[in-house]
Symmetry: C2
Subunit: 425 residues, 2 copies
């Protein structure tokens, strides 16, 4: 798509009008969000917020959760070889760096190029601020070894042991067409048009090399990943993710999110593992459950979000407390089964979004949670937690897991490099 980096970096900043004053031409656009990237103190509704694409870790993981999501899973074309994959990752990284800086993907923008050629950028984000866009790239198991067991890209022996194929969980009714994928791209922003623009242009850049397998839009982040954020509500009407890993808690992040070279896969050091699950909520049935039943299932009050053992939202649940001889918090409640204390201290950095996709033929809203969780090792985190939930969670009556995927999310790229370069070194 692009002739060379120096060339393209001279391109226009389409969002300059709204951008941070003093942005140096050719440099990275790290403006009002610089403090946030370091300490996550930014409110996620600052339309001018920008997060750097390059760095030790990819943005979009401990970044304070933005309000909107466009997630895409791609399959690499059969005709694409190792060199093609490397060129694709290079082009994607370069375009991602431009877009997260609030620029067009092409040197000429959507409007300054020759009339005879298609515009390099599709243009629908022209004039919009960076809107806290982050673009996060990950690799699925099928990138390492395809369905026929072939090592298409010469990387089969680099597959991390933590990148397991997820087991079948009790109750799974997965649709393969919206599960898996060779590569994923997570675009999060505070403006859906900016997130959609990112996926659309990255998909276009991939033309002939990779094709969209499935994609997912989301709104209303269902988790807070920063102590500066209020805990949002999911479509069950409850606060979700009170006990989430927060960016400010460095020990938790190091223990629960970032892979380490000592884990056995050096190229993944500073990376993480992402599990996605599309969880349809049977909303109409839920809405007919009594308030007491809803609270018993969740283990928290609906209003405040306090554990049923008492206190306020951030009071630690007391699973030993009894009322009239029965546990105040049902042992099969969601809060109990998902709690680190019953999962050998396993925590997740959840970063999910609500989705609504019209209605089904019965007039029921097709809606739920697109669950996303980052972690250091799914074998010790998502899998045992989900096994416990799938077997016992009172909430299972009201949810259906319809899609599932797992990705190794490499560390960030150095400026001028590309995400995943360590895989090919």
């Amino acid at each position: 798509m692009r002739e060379n980096d120096e060339h393209s970096r001279r391109g226009l900043s389409r969002r300059g009008l709204f951008g941070v004053a003093g942005l140096a031409a050719g440099g990275l656009a790290v403006g009002g969000a610089a403090g946030a990237a370091a300490g996550a103190t930014l409110a996620s509704t600052d339309a001018n917020a920008r997060y750097p694409f390059y760095g030790a870790h990819q943005s979009g993981i401990v970044t304070p959760a933005q309000d909107r999501l466009h997630f895409a899973a791609f399959d690499i074309a059969a005709s694409c070889d190792r060199a093609g994959l490397i060129s694709l990752l290079t082009d994607w990284s370069d375009a991602a760096a431009r877009m997260t800086a609030g620029e067009d993907v092409g040197q000429d923008g959507a409007t300054g190029g020759p009339l005879q050629a298609p515009p390099e950028d599709t243009g629908e984000a022209l004039g919009l601020p960076a809107s806290a866009l982050t673009i996060t790239i990950g690799f699925g198991p099928s990138l390492f070894t395809d369905a026929d067991g072939a090592d298409r890209f010469g990387i089969a022996d680099r597959r991390p042991s933590a990148l397991v194929d997820l087991p079948h969980f009790s109750g799974d009714i997965l649709d393969p067409a919206i599960s898996g994928g060779d590569v994923c791209i997570q675009a999060c922003a505070d403006d859906p048009q900016v997130a959609v623009h990112a996926i659309r242009n990255l998909s276009r850049i991939a033309f002939g090399r990779a094709a969209l397998r499935w994609s997912q839009l989301g709104f209303g982040r269902t988790s807070s990943t920063s102590t500066s954020q209020q805990t949002p509500r999911n479509l069950f009407g409850f606060k979700d993710g009170t006990a989430n890993v927060k960016a400010e808690n460095g020990d938790d992040v190091q223990t629960a999110v970032w892979a380490d070279a000592a884990d056995g896969t050096e190229w993944m050091a500073g990376g993480s593992y992402l599990v996605t699950r599309k969880i349809r909520m049977i909303i109409e049935t839920w809405d007919r459950a009594s308030l007491g039943e809803q609270q018993r299932i969740i283990g928290r009050t609906k209003g405040e979000g306090a554990p049923l053992s008492g206190g306020t939202e951030f009071t630690e649940p007391d699973f030993d407390r009894t009322v009239d001889g029965a546990p105040a918090i049902d042992p099969h409640s969601h809060v109990h089964l998902a709690h680190p204390s019953v999962n050998e201290k396993a925590m997740l950095l959840r970063r999910g979004y609500n989705y609504v996709e019209g209605n089904d033929e019965l007039g029921r809203l097709n809606a739920g949670l697109f669950f996303m969780a980052y972690q250091r090792d799914p074998r010790r985190q998502f899998i045992p937690i989900q096994r416990r939930l799938a077997a016992n969670d009172l909430m299972n009556e009201y949810v259906r897991h319809v899609s599932s995927a797992i990705f190794a999310v490499p560390p960030g790229a150095a400026e001028g490099g590309f995400v995943g370069s360590g895989l090919f070194g």
Copy 2:
């Protein structure tokens, strides 16, 4: 759902924390948005903005277009009779007044009621500000006479002559399952969770009396309905709706939007007619068209949005101007064919939204425009304009009309009344 109005108006204001100070209990919540309702000077991103539900006109028409849409079409249940329809419209109006004021739909909110009963409100908007929510109700042709020609509600003779069945337009490939509907509800807000909450709770209130037929989410308003708003871009990357009817232009609004008693249907005086069209854009093909071709099709420049006859965005197109002997603006361009000068001065108040719904099996984004236009009489406005576009528009190669509907949108209700009461008087 509710015992009586007095009772419910004493309900808690769930959004009081974020609300406008000094809100009088039991009264209407008209705070920071009061000026906007009168003069439309408000930026639509003020999360505390509130628009009154009651008034001479329904809100959500000349209201400055909010950023998000959840639109729903309902069919009235076979078991619902005239009295049932009136009670449904009463309950809907009452709930709409509460939600647009930033309150729960139920007296007890989602959290204050008895543990033994389902919460009256589903709760996912607890703690969120009013977010400029408007709820707008309309009636489709099938409400007046059903498919068998029956006059179920005794209103067949009240059907406005302007509420015609839309003709077939060249190129239409409509899906009946996502077209038509007895009643529509348009929920617009600056927060998608607030718009979704509104449709979900109105759908729940209708249980047993009406069921969702189809619904549509949208983002990134594609039209500005106020001179205070910048013209947004559609997914073709072009500014859309530069020449839209603006709320500040009182003459245009009176001429082009509001129905008048002199039009022949007294109960519709102060109402309007809404046409919706789901227009899928063939984005991947569009993205391969050259910049010159894209601009020729639209008739405007991509960057500035200026007519190809010269000037800036708001310069009137000069259809007589030629360059090298050819018209500067192609006579088959979208801007020419849709222009009032070739449509006997017919104008529309457009209020559409972009949509993206994942991708199809070929990996193409399933995306486009959910077109909505309010007008005084579709026979003189939408229909002739669309006939001309369907026959000649260069853009047709890149779009597919897949859903269509028309609704009579009654005037606003007086406080304590309900939308559509004039139909039963």
